[in-house]
Each structure stands twice: as structure tokens, then as C-alpha cells.
Subunit: 332 residues, 2 copies
């Protein structure tokens, strides 16, 4: 834009902000050139600056203690950093309490030219963020099920329900009929997708969930949910958890109550975190390749920020990794 | 400085950069005033800008996969973010491969005015970072044992060896005589401090370590070290690990080899991560209050960046939390 008008980027900024010592004819020339190009400062000011921030934003709207407790975020950050670090990029991490705070933050980051782009996580129903980021001209990528209709690129494994579907099939094959689900917060898109997959898979064989309990993903909520389930009159013989951290808490809680895993209770996690491979019993879980998805999202975003990054489409879908925490159902 | 010379901060910048349309007498006046005040632009340029970034840097020199594997960093980030988030601050996370890259990054962040300050982690022997950050005028705080001699404020619990000392005393009291230590990378200051505490505590009662093995903190290294220890002719009856992740891997590895914890092998971790409370057996570990130290470091740094943050000195020392993974020694 500055080149088109034959002026400096500072002059363009002054023309739009009506500041500085710009002569009126110069200001007119700049505004005319902008109108001709269909250019607006809100859409391009950050882009002008962005070539040099080498910073991408990750804004997380979760309680801070869950960030510490759920290794999912470390895995995601690890995947993103794996692409950023070799290119000298950093990741600006912000924790926010609410939607309004999150929106105001993106506006500030864009107007101050603090970041080149943003990775959006925890996609929600009627998510206002993609439209907001388009409006303020900040490149972004949304983590979640691929959606060609979305106004920003979405990056995630296809068929998000496939992993839970496989997990329930696996448990049905082992003879389980009373299967419970310990879910995450209902407002998260992936929580709803997985819960639906859980219920639909049981429905295909004419079964209903033994129970579906919602949690805030915290360890104490996982322990409470597990105690409720194993203390119930019709105790489930298998529990599927919405993440590995909760599944590990569930195994500990069951063992403490005198149940052997998997003899008395089968447990399935979700995430395939490194730790699950080393526990005893080793955790059966759904591999959703968090690191790989994080890396793919970072690559798409880097490309949108003008970096020369090869386009490697993300293929595959979540799949079950059968280890030792699931076994044949034993009626109790 | 600008006020002392009676000019704008932009003029000061122009005088030192020999750019802009500054009259020579003005330039002279600015340089003279600077000389009189002992002021240099490298020390203050970033400070001038810093009031508006609301960003602190955390540069981590570790392999990216360890960041995902070791929840210590999530805990640290959680502690820091707990202070940053309510004040609208973000944390700029960079992963670097080597010392030179780390130094170049601080120089770039300071010269581009990207951050207001930096939290330095993984203190090393002859650490070049505090002097570098002072030179480039970037406020910083070093995580580690309090050191009044250090050129930047250090934030950490006093008596860093106390936790390991307590752990060894606890094991000695349970009748253990063959105690091994699985350590972190030798070049890290906290690794050396804890290893020394381990060896000195045994020496006090005339014992030597059954073994001391170094690792890169990874899970596979923890498994390999544990297999080596439990497969040795003089198998240790207790193992102290340098962090909780490795201790959890150690328990799984021992159980898989047919050993019961703590009946056949006592295990002690280090960090007191939330997960250890829910495992079966619950993990005996050293609480080094990672979140609390991170929060305290953030507060000290925010105060140095001009924020109105109350000074709450960090008291206490690492201490042992006895749970279920340690028990009486049984000769094998």
C-alpha cells in the first residue's frame, strides 16, 4: 500500500490516524490510493508489522490450574514449538477468564502488532473468534475437525468421533455391556463430538450408557466421578475418560477401592500421552496425535504469515491404542 | 534521560543512532547529558518501550519432547500465568537449541522491544545470562537457590538440598542401606545441588550410593535406568528420582518386572506434581512448590517492570511429602 502511494509506511499510518505533520495533498493521495486498492488500515497495519514479530499467539480460556494438570496442553505446545523453534519463532501464551477478555486481547495484540498470527484452540459452538480475527486482519488457524465452510483454516484429524467409536467397539468385543463415560465441559466442541460418538456407538447395538458424567477436566473431578461410578448399585465394568489424566486418576481411584484394572474394571483414556506407555497397567487410549496436529496447525499458520513452509496435509483420524488397562468383562 | 536533556525519547534515540533530522547542537547536548548521567541507550531503549508490551519471556533450552514429557514446565508456566493473566500480561515462550541461540534471542527481543523482562530457568554453572541481560537492559529474574551475590534477583526456595536430605533420612529410617539416585543432566545447577545432598546425607552415616545414574529427564531414560538398577547383582531397595515423571516411569518398570512398590522397592520422586496424589501407590515426593516459585518469580519480575505488585518474599524450603510409594526395606 505504501509502495503504491509512493510514501513510507509511517506516512500511511499518519494519513489514516490524522496525526503527524503530513501535508494535506499527500494525505489525500494516500487515502485515494487506499480506496483504489480496497485497502484498509485495520486489515493491514498488523500485516505490515508482522514480518518482524516472529511470534504466534495461543490464547487459552481455561482455569490456570487445569493448564498445569492436563498434559494435553504441553503436548500441543510441544508440537507447535517443534515447528516454531527452528525458524526462530516464539509462542505468546495468554490465559484469559472469559470471551470478552479473549476478544479484547486479540484486538490489542493486532493493533499493537505483537503477533503475526494466532492458533485458536477449544473450538466452540458459534465460535465468534474466526470472524473477529478476519475482521482485525490477524491470520489464524482453528484446531478442530476439518471444516471447509469455516472462515479460517481448520486443522485437525478427520472423523473426530472415530477414536471413541473404536474404543466402545473394543469394549463391546470384550463383553462389556455397562460402559460409562466421563466427559469434559459440555460447551467444548470436541467434548460434544466424542460424547455423541460414545452414545451412538452403544445405540447401534441397542445399548444405553451406564452413565455419562461431565467434569471440568480436573483431577479431583475425575476422582469424584470415578468414586460415584464404582459406588453405584449397577457398577459399570468399563469407563471411557475424555482424557488420559482423568483416566490415570480413575485407575488409581479404582485400585484404591480394591478393584483390579482391568480384571474388575476396564479403563480407556484419550490423548495417548507419553506417560500412559509406562504406567502399570499400560493405558489403553485414543491416539489423537496432539503433537502432530499442533505441528500441522503451526505450519499452516506460518505459511499464512508468509513463511516458506511446505504444505503437508494432515491425514489420518484418531485411533485406539490397545494396551493393558482393558480386558474381558467380568460380571460383578 | 530524555527529560534530563529536555528532549523527546525519539530525539534521544536519533542522537545515538545518528539517524533523523536532529540539529548537531541538539545531538551534542543529548550525548553530553547522557555521559553526565552515565546513561547508555542499550540499557534503556528496551525499558523505554517496555511499558507497553505486557509480555514476559521464558526461554527454555531443552529438547522439545522433554517439554511435553515433563509436567514440571506446565506447573512452572501455570504459576507464572497465575500472576500474569489477571494483569493482562502474556508469556512469550521460546525453545532454543544452544547457548549462542539463546543469547542472540535475548538480544533480538530486547532490541525489537518485544518483551518487558525475562524469567531465566535451569540455572547453570557460570551462567552467562544474568550479565547479558543486565548489559542489554532487560529486567530478569533467575529461578534457583536465593543468591544475594547474583547480578539479577534469584527466586527459589532456600536450602535446595533439604528435600533430598529429608528423603534419604526417611529411607534410612525405614532401614534402607542400598539407595540409588536417578539424576538429571549434570550441567544443571539444581541437578548438582540435589546429587550432592544425596551423597552427603549417605556419607553422614558412612554409606555410599548404591548407584548414581544421569539421564536427560526423558521417560525412556528413566525406564532404562530403572531396568539397569533392578537388574543389577546388588539391587537397590530404594530409588530416589530427580523428578516425578521419572519416578512414575520407575514404579511402572518395577511393577512390570514383578516387584511390588513399596514392598520390594521404595520410590521417591521430586516436584510434587498433582498426578502423584492419585496414583496407586500414591507417590512419596519432594514438594518444591513449582507453581509457588513460578508465581513469586513473576511477581518480582512484574515489580521490576514497573507494575504495582506487592513484595511477598518466598519463604520455606523443599520438603518431603511421605505417601505410599516408600516402606520398610526388605532384604532380597
Amino acid at each position: 500500500m505504501a509502495a503504491a502511494a509512493g510514501v513510507s509506511t509511517a506516512a500511511v499510518s499518519q494519513a489514516f490516524n490524522e496525526k503527524g505533520r503530513l501535508a494535506e495533498p499527500t494525505r489525500r493521495r494516500i487515502l485515494d490510493a487506499a480506496a483504489e486498492l480496497g485497502w484498509s488500515p485495520s486489515a493491514s497495519a498488523s500485516a505490515l508489522r508482522s514480518a518482524r514479530t516472529r511470534t504466534l499467539a495461543l490464547v487459552v480460556r481455561r482455569p490456570t490450574d487445569v493448564l498445569g494438570a492436563d498434559p494435553h496442553f504441553s503436548e500441543l505446545i510441544t508440537g507447535i514449538e517443534g515447528e516454531l523453534a527452528p525458524r526462530g519463532y516464539g509462542l505468546l501464551l495468554h490465559l484469559v477468564a472469559g470471551v470478552d477478555e479473549e476478544s479484547a486481547l486479540y484486538e490489542r495484540l493486532a493493533s499493537e502488532g505483537r503477533v503475526d498470527g494466532a492458533v485458536l484452540t477449544d473450538a466452540r459452538a458459534d465460535d465468534p473468534r474466526p470472524a473477529l480475527l478476519r475482521r482485525i486482519g490477524l491470520p489464524s488457524v482453528l484446531l478442530g475437525a476439518p471444516d471447509p465452510e469455516a472462515s479460517v483454516p481448520t486443522v485437525g484429524l478427520g472423523n473426530q468421533g472415530a477414536g471413541v467409536h473404536e474404543a466402545v467397539d473394543h469394549l463391546l468385543g470384550l463383553g462389556h455391556r455397562r460402559i460409562a463415560y466421563v466427559s469434559g465441559p459440555a460447551e467444548l466442541q470436541h467434548t460434544r463430538l466424542r460424547r455423541t460418538a460414545f452414545e451412538e456407538t452403544l445405540e447401534l447395538v441397542g445399548l444405553r450408557p451406564a452413565a455419562v458424567l461431565s467434569t471440568d477436566f480436573s483431577e479431583s473431578a475425575a476422582v469424584a466421578a470415578t468414586e460415584e461410578l464404582i459406588g453405584s448399585a449397577e457398577r459399570p465394568t468399563a469407563i471411557v475418560y475424555a482424557n488420559d489424566s482423568m483416566a490415570v486418576c480413575g485407575i488409581g481411584t479404582a485400585q484404591r477401592a480394591g478393584l483390579a484394572v482391568p480384571r474388575d474394571l476396564s479403563v480407556v483414556g484419550y490423548d495417548n500421552l507419553p506417560l500412559g506407555r509406562w504406567l502399570h497397567p499400560r493405558l489403553t487410549t485414543v491416539d489423537q496425535q496432539v503433537q502432530r496436529v499442533g505441528a500441522a496447525a503451526a505450519r499452516v499458520l506460518l505459511a499464512r504469515c508468509g513463511e516458506d513452509v511446505p504444505e503437508t496435509p494432515l491425514e489420518g483420524r484418531p485411533h485406539l491404542v490397545v494396551r493393558e488397562s482393558t480386558g474381558p468383562a467380568t460380571p460383578c
